[in-house]
């Protein structure tokens, strides 16, 4: 088998897109193409050895966990990497969070919300909304960690 990522969502496009999620579909999960794309090809996966900020959020026994590393230069996030355990929603929102934050001024990054992530993904199933907090929380805590460290090493 070739690497999974080369297959992407191509043949399934319609399957995941056509039935509009409605109230009564709540029991079944329909992700849109963007979510699936970020899930199958998550951006910025990995670790940063000499990170300037780090966060560990979530509880794997409750369904998801995320580790986030940032590298900061001149008030910018110049590198960002993550690793996530969780459902496709957790992985896709993790990926999108890092994608949005990459290159941002810290203050702009801090202003990012879960809504921004969901919007950038073009929406996410109702019962996966909570996932979007994972990335945002990790980002905030990593920035906090960076600021803490900066304070301690002036």
């Amino acid at each position: 088998m070739g690497p999974v990522s080369t297959e992407k969502a191509k043949p399934e496009k319609l399957q995941h897109d056509s039935p509009q999620p409605t109230d009564e579909d709540a029991g079944v999960i329909f992700y849109n193409e963007t979510v699936i794309e970020h899930f199958t090809n998550p951006r910025n996966v990995g670790e940063i050895e000499d990170a300037d900020g780090f966060a560990l959020v979530g509880d794997p026994s409750c369904g998801d966990q995320m580790k986030l590393w940032i590298k900061v230069e001149a008030g910018h996030i110049v590198d960002i990497k993550f690793k996530s355990f969780g459902c496709p929603g957790a992985i896709a929102t993790s990926s999108m969070t890092t994608h949005l934050a990459m290159g941002m001024y810290l203050e702009d990054a801090r202003a990012l919300t879960d809504d921004d992530v969901v919007r950038a993904l073009g929406g996410i199933p109702a019962n996966k909304q909570h996932c979007s907090l994972l990335g945002i929380n990790a980002l905030l805590f990593a920035i906090k960690d960076y600021e803490q460290r900066s304070k301690n090493q002036p």
Binding site: M1, S5, S61, D64, Q65
Partner: protein, 389 residues
């Protein structure tokens, strides 16, 4: 990679209709539409078709036609058995024993009976997912009226010692119900009413149609109806009979029994091959209930460090259909109650995927899926915060 055929490894959720069942159903979508309760020839024909279906099912289970009640499916059969028996016997006692690994249609029904004043004991299982008959014996109290233990588990395939449990129940004079919905068609069952008083089966798990199942009820069992209306099904299940579904069920059940030995052997080989391939190519996996007697078609596998829905979505995107836990808990973030009862941690249970094979499964599918799966697990572990690499 070229588009490939769908690989359906979710036969425990539902099965495609077999040709025989489809053929048996078609006349009833056509001219044979009478109501079995009608006086005229179309009605009589319908009646005799319903009774022919009933005799087929009775013959398969070695019981009398009068011991076969058709229901709208497995869930209704389980509800009728438990609610009906509890209500019929409530003056004799209020204690009901079941297990922690039952299907929701038994588990939630026992919980509902618990809210109505019955005392429910949920027996634990061992790490293999099997109930110890001794625990059943020990749980019996003077006020125990009903015992419900499934024949084979839908998530792990673990086969329960229902014959031994049934003997204990009979000795102690307790009505014994067994949900055989996942056992029927997969393992030889014999004359079930010899040891059980009530047995549930469902057509769509054995290549029959949706919307029909049966509760086998041994003569003399106390059972009240849970719905009321006409005199259908010996007054125990009202509503115009679904002849198409009954005919399809009978045809499918006949097929299932006829092919059972050969198909069980074939699937066991495929299942073993699948598991060996995974064990060889993927580190840190465990096979649930692998040391228990299992139905030959079910492989429940825990992939440590990754979450099952992510595995399922990757599989799905590549045309492979599988389940996490039982199908009917999709959208329910709770990890499988079955695996938890076997002592798996919540984290371990979250990494469980169920592959259930069936008539459509080929060796090529097994090989292809095992290979695909290895790639998926590697990829997800590469992303996982719980895995080092």
């Amino acid at each position: 990679m070229k588009a490939r055929e769908l690989i359906y490894f979710d036969h425990n959720a539902t099965t495609p209709l077999c040709t025989e069942a489809r053929q048996a159903m078609l006349p009833f979508l056509d001219t044979a539409f009478g109501n079995p309760s009608s006086y005229h020839r179309l009605g009589r024909q319908a009646r005799s078709d319903v009774e022919a279906g009933r005799r087929t099912i009775a013959d398969i289970f070695g019981c009398r036609p009068t011991e076969v009640l058709f229901t709208s499916g497995g869930t209704e059969a389980n509800n009728l058995a438990l609610r009906g028996a509890a209500s019929a016997m409530k003056d004799r006692g209020c204690h009901i024993i079941t297990t922690a690994i039952e299907h929701h249609s038994v588990l939630k029904t026992c919980e509902a009976l618990g809210r109505k004043g019955f005392n429910i004991t949920f027996l634990p299982v061992d790490s293999k997912g099997v109930v110890d008959p001794q625990l059943v014996a020990d749980a019996i109290r003077p006020d125990t009226i009903l015992l419900s233990v499934m024949h084979a588990n839908n998530e792990t395939g673990a086969v329960q010692p229902v014959e031994e449990i049934g003997r204990i129940a009979r000795q102690r004079g307790i009505t014994f119900h067994s949900d055989a919905i996942q056992a029927f068609g997969k393992i030889a069952m014999g004359t079930v009413l010899d040891y059980a008083d009530m047995v549930s089966v469902s057509a769509h798990k054995v290549y029959g149609p949706r919307g029909v199942g049966a509760l086998l009820v041994r003569r003399g069992t106390s059972l009240s109806p849970i719905m009321t209306g006409g005199h259908h099904e010996h007054g125990l299940r009202p509503g115009t009979e679904n002849m198409a579904a009954i005919a399809g069920f009978a045809a499918a059940a006949g097929q299932a029994v006829e092919k059972l030995a050969a198909e069980a052997a074939r699937l066991a080989v495929l299942r073993d091959r699948f598991e060996e391939m995974l064990l060889q190519t993927i580190p840190n996996i465990s096979i649930n209930s692998c040391d228990a007697p299992r139905t030959p078609n079910t492989s429940s596998i825990c992939f440590s460090g990754i979450e099952s829905e992510s595995v399922l979505l990757h599989l799905d995107l590549l045309g492979i259909c599988a389940s996490a836990g039982s199908a009917c808990t999709t959208g329910d973030p709770e990890p499988s109650h079955v695996l938890r009862a076997m002592g798996l941690s919540s984290l371990q249970a979250q990494g469980a995927v169920r592959f259930s094979f069936g008539s459509t499964t080929t060796p090529e599918q097994i090989d292809s899926a095992a290979e695909t799966l290895a790639g998926i697990v590697k990829k997800l572990r590469g992303v996982s915060s719980l895995c080092q690499n």
